[in-house]
């Protein structure tokens, strides 16, 4: 299947991003396709269920990790008040959960700390994806469904 795609691209001389992405995916590969699919499903389903916007950042968070995570949260797109950022820095062994002002009402800091605790337990065992998915599940369970109040 893949060879036919590349063959077609070579014939009509068009740039085929799929062929390139396969190569790039192999050079700097953090997660397998299966893990990426699980992460994608977890993020999308938690966001859909709760009405909040869960995003996941994986990478280095400078020296004051909290400040960097909050800065990232302001750039997380959408309405930041309802955004929840999970920032994981495996190199520094730090995970930060940042909730916007509206999200913090449904996700108190204590619930976030509980989710963070379960995440760090899994991370310490080397299971990044499992920890993230469990943390997301806890956060979305705690946030519950959005309440549609009449204004």
């Amino acid at each position: 299947m893949r060879t036919t795609i590349e063959h077609d691209a070579a014939v009509d001389g068009m740039y085929d991003p799929r062929a390139d992405s396969v190569v790039a995916e192999h050079s700097d590969q953090i997660f397998s396709f299966r893990e990426l699919a699980r992460l994608d499903e977890a993020l999308t389903l938690s966001s859909r269920e709760t009405g909040l916007r869960f995003t996941l950042y994986m990478g280095d968070l400078g020296t004051p990790t909290r400040a960097r995570a909050e800065e990232l949260h302001t750039h997380s797109g959408g309405s930041t008040a309802e955004a929840v950022l999970i920032a994981v820095s495996p190199g520094q062994r730090v995970v930060e959960v940042v909730t916007g002002s509206a999200a913090a009402r449904r996700l108190p800091d204590r619930a976030c700390a509980l989710a963070v605790l379960s995440m760090t337990t899994a991370f310490a065992g080397g299971d990044l994806v499992g920890g993230i998915i469990n943390g997301l599940r806890q956060l979305s369970d705690q946030a519950g469904r959005p309440t549609h109040r009449a204004h």
Partner: protein, 92 residues
Amino acid sequence: MCGAGKLGAVTVAETILVFAGAPLAVILVLALLTIAPGVRNRRPRYKPGQPWDHAPVWYEPHPHSGGGHGGSHAAIAGAAPAGPLGGARGTW
């Protein structure tokens, strides 16, 4: 089994083939089936304490199902930090 069919003597080569070759073949097939999938997608597994030299990645939910009340208007309004931030922090 009739009078004409007389079973010939089994040679040494045939004996080795049946009693050593066949089990070895079975073992090799099972070993290949066991080892091959792991070799194909071998990736360095994360272990706590090792350096993380991957580029930062930001994963987002699918946009049409994302939270908030959507729209570009919300994106513009959300550029400024909105109120106090909550959350938690953990290390491992």
